[in-house]
Symmetry: C2
Subunit: 200 residues, 2 copies
């Protein structure tokens, strides 16, 4: 007896998700059999929609369904402050908590000596250009304090040290080493924004 092909294919698809092994994928696939037909259709369409509609904002690299993301196109936000983050999850978390009202820049990739990712393979060049072109007055580095994060922050700091008219700060207070931004409690994130420390 062989498991029906369609089930096998769905198990393989679920196994593409992060942290999902054979047993969990099987459990999900068998669950789908008993799900409501409309729910499965919506699920199937949601997958395609995300892939077809979601683009990266050309200004800040955050996700959007439009040409420019909601944050970049919002005139009420502080245009002269730029918060540099590692990933889109950081932006979503900060926005949820409403702790910051400037613009963002998503690096996506950090400098990593171990993985042989140098500054030229990151978005840092684009970041420097953005700072130049948009007359940014303040940079907040909100990158998690891992080796890669620190290396990236230091590099950005060094590249900007000649610009005397820009304040650079780093979010600080209480962000523990090696923790993902998205799982931090709101107070820690709020304090980290409030107690940011000038570094140049």
């Amino acid at each position: 007896m062989n498991c029906p092909t369609s089930i096998k294919e769905l198990i393989n698809s679920f196994k593409c998700l992060p942290g999902i092994g054979e047993k969990s994928a099987e459990r999900f696939a068998y669950h789908v059999i008993d799900m409501d037909k409309d729910t499965v259709k919506a699920f199937s369409e949601a997958l395609l929609n995300v892939k077809n509609k979601i683009k990266y904002c050309p200004k800040c690299n955050f996700i959007t369904e439009n040409e420019i993301c909601d944050i970049c196109s919002d005139p009420s936000r502080d245009k002269e402050t730029l918060c540099v983050v590692e990933d889109i999850k950081s932006v979503i978390r900060f926005e949820e908590l409403n702790v910051y009202n400037g613009k963002y820049f998503v690096l996506d990739k950090l400098i990593s000596p171990f993985d042989k990712i140098g500054p030229e393979e990151t978005n840092i060049d684009k970041l420097l250009k953005t700072i130049e072109e948009n007359n940014i007055k303040e940079i907040i580095l909100a990158i998690k304090p891992t080796i890669e994060g620190e290396a990236t922050s230091l590099y950005i700091e060094k590249m900007l040290q000649e610009k005397k008219n820009i304040d650079i700060s780093k979010i600080a207070h209480g962000i523990p080493l090696g923790v993902e931004m998205e799982y931090l409690d709101s107070l820690t994130i709020e304090l980290a924004f409030k107690d940011r420390k000038k570094i140049s």
Copy 2:
């Protein structure tokens, strides 16, 4: 700032899966953005295929893409022995291990006094009809030994006690209480089939 609608919808879809909460669903959805376009398309189609193609076999309630499942339509299998299981996952596990060569009957629902599921809400009537019509000589009850499983086994045993020409046995050796069949090691399952105990 609002998270793009298509992402929100995908997060909600992932949350329909068993054991998946907000954070895991978000993690999966963000992962989909960076997945290969063809992989996402295949995933989306796999969901629809499972929902559209998978049916329950009218004879044994196992899953199939055809009118009758592979096991029921296999002439090489022992037609006179019927293994009664709780769910399709049990069938798949037993088939993987190749410990049994008869037919199956999937109950799907067990009798549960606590959830007010009586025998009339289960497939037991259909099971009795199947036994009658197919001239079954041996029944193997392979239901896990929880309160619901035991209640169901006892009820089936009681319903069959007048049929003197049917051997009823229960898989036995070493199946620990409250464990899901699909996670058991092969030796335990093999021994349980081998050491099944006649109960009437």
